[in-house]
Symmetry: C2
Subunit: 393 residues, 2 copies
Amino acid sequence: MSTRNFFSVLGRNGKARVGRYVTQHGVFETPNFMPVGTQASVKGVDCERLAEVGAQITLVNTYHLWLRPGAELISRLGGIHRFCAWHGPILSDSGGFQIFSLQRIRKISEEGVEFQSHLDGAKCFLSPETSIGIQEQLGVDIAMVLDECPAGTLSHAEVEKSLALTERWARRSLAARRSEGTRVFGITQGGVFRDLRTRAAESIAAIEVDGQRFDGLAIGGLSVGEAKDAMYEVLSYHPQQLPEGRIRYLMGVGTPEDIVTAVSEGVDLFDCVMPTRSGRFGRAFVSSDEPMINIKNSRFERDTGVLDSNCCCVACRNYSRAYIHHLFKVGEMLGPQLLSIHNLTHYLRLMQEIRSAIAAGRFDELLQREKARWKSVPLGRGTADERSSQILE
Amino acid sequence: MSTRNFFSVLGRNGKARVGRYVTQHGVFETPNFMPVGTQASVKGVDCERLAEVGAQITLVNTYHLWLRPGAELISRLGGIHRFCAWHGPILSDSGGFQIFSLQRIRKISEEGVEFQSHLDGAKCFLSPETSIGIQEQLGVDIAMVLDECPAGTLSHAEVEKSLALTERWARRSLAARRSEGTRVFGITQGGVFRDLRTRAAESIAAIEVDGQRFDGLAIGGLSVGEAKDAMYEVLSYHPQQLPEGRIRYLMGVGTPEDIVTAVSEGVDLFDCVMPTRSGRFGRAFVSSDEPMINIKNSRFERDTGVLDSNCCCVACRNYSRAYIHHLFKVGEMLGPQLLSIHNLTHYLRLMQEIRSAIAAGRFDELLQREKARWKSVPLGRGTADERSSQILE
């Protein structure tokens, strides 16, 4: 067996580690965070601003791009990098999460999942093989396997049955790889059940096809509605169950507090719509004692300060809180644009700080600082408006 | 009498001229075009991109800023330049156009105009004196007088009566100036009636208060629904009726063809929502034989070319037409952002070309080129959606 070795751990501090991952479109450092470009566009942020905020790798959604404009079209146009003008690494999800979260009439079989397009109700079918095929056609650097993402409310028996299907699909996904350039990551499921997570970590990591294993391992099925404590419980043991030599990616997570906590348990890679979605709704992450502000609040009407004096994004190097408050109050689209860029800058600066702290052997200080800052913030899942925009991001 | 002299004509080619105008926040070259920042934000364009497109002066709307967030607040926050982070020259309209175009219940008296806020129906009153006062409080470089903007359908007698009021208001506006730093421009009205335009040019230019006259003269009441031929008829004589030594500003106009035509008659300054509003609706100005394209058209679905190979805006230096088509098709806000920036870049590059052509004595070539390009384009007033967004821009 020869595992392809694209990931290097360069330093450790406790369970946290710094490293680098090599793709055909360049290297990204870890721990890192991927801005989400659902429809091949990080909402409101052009590719030059995206580089400016410090992004090293971005994520696109297979489900959305498959439906519109189609993977074949993107391939004909020269591939996803040329299409969206992001020339660094790109990871795509498998499409599974959207299919399961969109909750349309669907039928899950051994073969794959049948569902209706959320756009026009057309019947569609996605199998592990077609998902990998679509992602390779898009031309991404990292493809994710199709997995079943069970609801957080299911019983142990139901989650166990689902996990078995996810394991079989994982093997088929790896076997479906055709492009040498595309890395493929496996995904563990198992809900919040320790025995199932333990089994998933072992089984997914061990899958081997033609002498090759997964080029990275992702933790799926968290931050999908379960209690925060339950997620933190899984994070307390599960990352360490994944092989030391492979990159660990926690999917769809999360708040800055979630991220530092997961890093402290050995996670290397993250994605989440939170910085952009929160930004569109007026919420700004800042580096003061109050870690997040709602710029629409009337207390900012006359605030001549910048969002965050530690930030050098286009919003903070030009505008006052009062101005951005005004933009949201009168409905100018520049408001959502500025806060999306600001929040991404905040997240990616945090990742840089995390890497530096680990390298310097001082990660625990940063961890405690962020935990203290977020202690009193009851960060919910957002307003109804935000939730309704979530499935389409 | 000592007219303050802020405008210099540096060269002529036929009736067209190049020049420069000095304000307290810097100089702008003429002929020039002002991007419209209705609510102190050029829609979708941050201040750094606004500099990048080549803007030298921008316009804000007194009416909108007076209602929200209020001139007093902007003044307390350090003035309009600091507020919107545009540190070059800023011109504001008087608020009159919005009041008349919003068509709310209103009462026009000798004193001023009574109207209801379009936001909450609150009763408001604007006089020539309060309008200048608000604009000075905003801290703009150039303030416009309050004028009555009569509908294009009125009779000669009605327009004549309206013009008389506009003349009396103009004198009161000039007398209301308190800040030495604020230039004040007069506005001619008179509809499409040659005798009234002739009278307006003489009367507004001659107004003198305390030995000072208007620092510039604007042509109002065009492009407000009259036929294009009627507007071109007025442009064929009216600009030349305005004194040679003062800057001539044609308000709210227009298409590239309108602009080159007006420049050929001696106009120096323009503003229009067209580049940004058209951009938001998917229309892009390009430099090919087809002067404007609708990117939503299905023929661009697989078009790997850039919008305009002569353009170096953020859209053209990164993205294909196919990608921007996709953004509009799936409703990504980046689409309107990119086309707004692209169209402004197109307009401001045109103004640069106009200045160079005049300086080189070859303006007629450019004029004929643009006229030929636009000959076959029946440029209407846009779709119903575009029209409904017009009053609020």
